[in-house]
């Protein structure tokens, strides 16, 4: 389909999907401009007029970037993120900027300053977060692919809740230049796709080292993997710590089905152990807020964004009021926790300790992969999508939604969620994890499963 036609079609779908509140910025003018731009490109571009939505913490010149926050109301970036440049160069069309938990801090997209996003299948439920808007748009069939970002699972978890493919690459695989920083040692631009192939093609386009990001690794971009006929020769580890006795029955059944599928396709399944994963969530909630507290210090009302000055009228008042009023509750909480764990007297007990434990968690994975395991299989989330308001009272309850996805973020490993079934109408995702830079195997194996499993099938 031509760019112009795609622009009209996508515009219509975006308009229809408005009730989801998944989108913060889109316009038919910009869509048409994108359509014209890609139509003028020479034929054969790899993403040929694919409309891609972007989480609103990825900066763009043409559309505002608010990160779901009042503090960036009206901010329009004067430069494009590297991933945006790469998508556009490959012929993709930037369709919209999607809603998110403010500054990517959250697991339900209920913490946006611009209203929560509704789950496409059940508006009383959350789509997951923090990349809930992007997940919802792909699930609702508005776009075949979207970019999100992960710090502790913010693409895999909503992918699982919404029943779409969500892939987090290895840390350092994709440039973070232009991704608004939250937890710099954890942040990864990640991809949602309707299918594994959609996600793989987008990931291949955006990956590769960037001289503007010193944390990217000197490796060639990821290639779209060749199709595998089956899973013969593949050894899949199932870590016992990720299958607690009280796991949701639907999730448990879906994972059991997946394991059987793998075996049916010729793969071997082995029980393994990742003992330190139990500490992943507390480790994450020290490291991520600490880095975030520093990363969000730049939002001070001096050079951009929405400025507010209190009655004292001095510079301190400018800082405290701009930030106090511009940041939402969850963001303020995390900044305070982060500042606290870095402050004098606490650095060793918290931040330094968390780095030690992080190394132990990563080491668990390395040992398992070194012992002959090719991929790991776990549930993506402990339950299907929960109801809006269910976890907002207790911050820790919300944090625990990321219990299965967070460890891979800490270890910097590539991981993805594949929809494998439904429980009472709600999607369930299975998580696959590969060793460092093992995206190609990860996606190839997922594609085999995708071919042979019905994500819409009720598991019970």
């Amino acid at each position: 389909m031509s760019g112009a036609a795609t622009a009209r079609e996508t515009g219509a779908r975006l308009a229809k999907a408005q009730p989801l509140n998944a989108v913060l910025h889109w316009s038919q003018e910009l869509l048409d401009a994108e359509g014209a731009r890609v139509d003028a490109m020479p034929a054969g571009s790899s993403l040929a007029a694919m409309p891609v939505a972007l989480k609103d913490n990825i900066v763009t010149v043409e559309q505002p970037t608010t990160c779901g926050s009042r503090i960036l109301e009206g901010y329009v970036s004067p430069y494009n993120a590297t991933v945006v440049e790469r998508l556009r160069a490959a012929g993709a069309m930037i369709a919209a900027k999607t809603n998110l938990d403010e500054f990517a801090m959250g697991s339900s997209t209920e913490h946006s300053a611009f209203g929560r996003v509704k789950h496409p299948l059940d508006p009383s439920r959350v789509p997951g977060g923090s990349s809930g808007g992007s997940a919802a748009l792909v699930a609702a069939g508005v776009v075949p692919a979207a970019l999100g970002s992960e710090t502790g699972g913010s693409v895999r978890q909503p992918a699982s809740f919404c029943g779409v493919v969500g892939v987090k690459p290895s840390y350092g695989r994709v440039s973070r230049y232009g991704l608004v920083a939250f937890g710099s040692s954890l942040d990864c631009v990640s991809v949602f796709g309707r299918t594994v192939d959609d996600a793989a093609r987008v990931l291949s386009t955006i990956s590769g080292s960037d001289p503007l990001d010193a944390t990217t690794v000197d490796r060639a971009p990821m290639r779209v993997p060749k199709a595998l006929p089956d899973l013969r020769g593949l050894t899949v580890g199932v870590p016992k710590e990720y299958f607690p006795a009280d796991l949701d029955a639907g999730v448990s059944t879906a994972l059991r089905r997946t394991t059987e599928q793998i075996q049916g396709l010729g793969g071997e399944v082995r029980l393994v152990s990742l003992p330190n994963s139990a500490y992943a969530v507390p480790t994450y909630y020290i490291i991520a807020p600490a880095e975030a507290a520093a990363n969000l210090a730049r939002y001070d009302g001096v050079r951009y964004g929405k400025r507010r000055i209190g009655p004292e009228g001095d510079i301190r008042s400018l800082y405290r009021t701009t930030r106090g009023e511009g940041f939402g509750e969850e963001v303020r909480r995390r900044i305070l926790v982060g500042t606290y764990v870095l402050s004098a007297g606490y650095y060793d007990a918290y931040y330094k300790k968390a780095q030690q434990v992080r190394a132990l968690i990563a080491d668990d994975f390395r040992k398992v992969f070194d012992s002959g395991i090719d991929l790991l299989l776990t549930p993506t989330t402990p339950t299907p999508a929960f109801k809006a308001g269910e976890k907002t009272e207790d911050p820790v309850a919300m944090y625990l939604a990321d219990v299965f996805v967070c460890p891979m973020s800490l270890a910097g490993l590539p991981a993805m969620s594949l929809p494998v079934g439904r429980s009472e109408g709600l999607p369930i995702g299975a998580q696959l994890v590969a060793p460092h830079f093992g995206e190609e195997l990860l996606l190839a194996a997922a594609q085999v499963l995708e071919r042979t499993m019905d994500p819409l099938a009720e598991v019970r």
Binding site: N57, I58, V59, T65, C67, L72, Y75, S77, P78, Y79, A81, R176, Y177, G178, L179, V180, A181, G183, S184, S185, P211, L212, D213, A214, T215, A290, E291, A293, A294, L296, A297, R298, D300, V302, R303, Y304, I315, Y319, T339, L342, S343, A344, Y347, Y351
Partner: protein
């Protein structure tokens, strides 16, 4: 009560790079505000730092020139605080794993002679922007052109014992860093800044007193003044029964006083942690060795070598090597054939005067060597040569002989001409001739002077005397 003063200095120098520490903007001085900026140094959402290789290279050279141990692995750290000139709300610096530690600087203390000051550490960091408080009423103006400029911070051990000593240390430190090509080290241009820490204690004790920090000094002389004032203030405090508070003071060059900063700074909890946007800086021993090998000859080594190679006095060698440009110029003049002693005098005289005024060497070294040769040959007198030098300094690359001729300063050595003038003088002063012949030989100087006058300075004085001698003697024999 006799008091001992304990002083430590923190010096920030701007590294001589083309671009900033973490982004590709120029570091030039004096551009319109906020025009040398990009997402990185503006602290825009999503921007990331990438370190400048040349800044690291220069910092390592500086560290080696100061005798430091350069660490193969060092770590960038975030120093977190809020200030309008700090776009990210943190400064990228180095904390517990700096680039270099453990050096020393040898220098001449005015009180204690030759001594060493320990260098605790040298690390790299980025500069903040500039604030202007008086440009707009009720507002502070922020210019981020300077934000992100590469700096090396050099911290001395508290080994200095007087303001004058501190100044001497600074002079030598600056000299070493300029020689090493690390920084322009100009306080006027802001490429060298000094913060001082001073405390006092009863002489003979070893426990350190409470130290204060003194800032805002814009010259080495003002560092000395400020520290004298602060020392006096602390002594007066303690002697009146009060105690020194740990404060930061600003020096006011106009009043010559120090005043505590008005704002009660919040507790300096900088919450340092390794910057997750920057993997560790890893340098190989081979690369560090390359930097050491690439170091130019440093001031002490050059001074010793020139003294030995050219039989210069210690004092002259010190003067000539004080500025690296001057030392290089001197060596070029000698290489072009001039004798070292004469060259040294010229360099310490005319050349240094022009350099101090204009910051440049308008007369090419080879030309000065030629000029010195002309004096030795007797083509011009030393006095005349100074005028030729000024002429050469005006317009580019004239040759000295032509310039001397054009100025009419070429000495006349021709026997015939000299004899003519001598005869005229002797004829004009018969009484003095008689007196000379009677034994007043010191009248020779008078006659020489008269010949010089009659020749309007053109006679070659060395040639005049023998002619006079001959003429005066010949007459005596008659």
């Amino acid at each position: 009560m006799a008091w001992e003063t304990v002083i430590g200095l923190e010096v920030h120098v701007q590294l001589r790079t083309r671009t900033k520490m973490f982004c590709g903007n120029r570091t030039t001085f004096g551009d319109p505000p906020n025009t040398n900026v990009c997402p990185v140094c503006l602290g825009l959402p999503g921007a990331l730092p990438v370190p400048n290789a040349e800044a690291i290279r220069l910092a390592v050279r500086g560290a080696l020139a100061l005798g430091c141990t350069v660490h193969e692995t060092s770590v960038f750290a975030r120093k977190n605080y809020f200030y309008p000139d700090l776009p990210k709300g943190y400064q990228i610096s180095q904390f517990d794993r700096p680039l270099a530690t453990g050096g020393s600087v040898s220098f001449d203390s005015p009180e204690r002679g030759r001594m060493q000051v320990g260098i605790t550490r040298l690390h790299v960091e980025e500069d903040a922007g500039k604030l202007l408080h008086d440009r707009f009423p009720g507002k502070t103006a922020v210019d981020l052109n300077r934000a992100g400029t590469p700096l090396a911070e050099i911290v001395s051990e508290p080994d200095l014992r007087s303001p004058a000593e501190a100044r001497a240390y600074l002079t030598t430190l600056r000299q070493i860093l300029v020689y090493a090509g690390v920084s322009e080290c100009s306080m006027e241009q802001g490429s060298l800044r000094v913060d001082a820490n001073l405390s006092i204690r009863p002489a003979g004790t070893s426990r350190l007193g409470t130290k204060t920090e003194v800032k805002n000094m814009n010259s080495f002389a003002n560092v000395e003044r400020a520290l004298e004032v602060e020392r006096a203030r602390q002594i007066a405090l303690v002697e009146s029964g009060r105690s020194v508070e740990q404060v930061t003071l600003l020096f006011n060059a106009g009043t010559g006083q120090v005043k505590p900063t008005r704002s009660k700074e919040e507790s300096h909890d900088y919450r340092y942690f390794p910057d997750p946007d920057l993997p560790p800086l890893v340098l190989t021993p081979a690369w560090i060795a390359e930097q050491r090998a690439a170091l130019p000859e440093l001031p002490e080594a050059k001074r010793a070598r020139l003294e030995a190679a050219h039989a210069l006095s210690a004092k002259d060698a010190r003067v000539i090597t004080a500025e690296v440009g001057l030392a290089h110029y001197f060596e070029s003049v000698v290489d072009a054939g001039a004798d070292p002693k004469t060259a040294a005098n010229w360099v310490m005289g005319e050349v240094m005067t022009t350099y101090n005024e204009s910051g440049s060497f308008p007369v090419p070294a080879a030309r000065l060597a030629e000029l010195i040769g002309l004096v030795r040959e007797g083509v011009v007198s030393h006095q005349a040569a100074k005028r030729v030098y000024s002429e050469l300094a005006q317009s580019s690359d004239q040759d000295p002989r032509t310039a001397a001729a054009r100025l009419g300063l070429v000495q006349v050595s021709d026997q015939g001409a000299l004899t003519g003038w001598v005869d005229e003088v002797l004829a004009a002063h018969p009484d003095e001739v008689a007196r000379f012949r009677d034994g007043e030989t010191k009248l020779m100087a008078f006659f020489v002077g008269q010949v010089m006058k009659r020749s309007k300075g053109k006679a070659d004085p060395k040639g005049v005397q023998p002619v006079l001698q001959e003429r005066l003697t010949v007459a005596a024999d008659r």
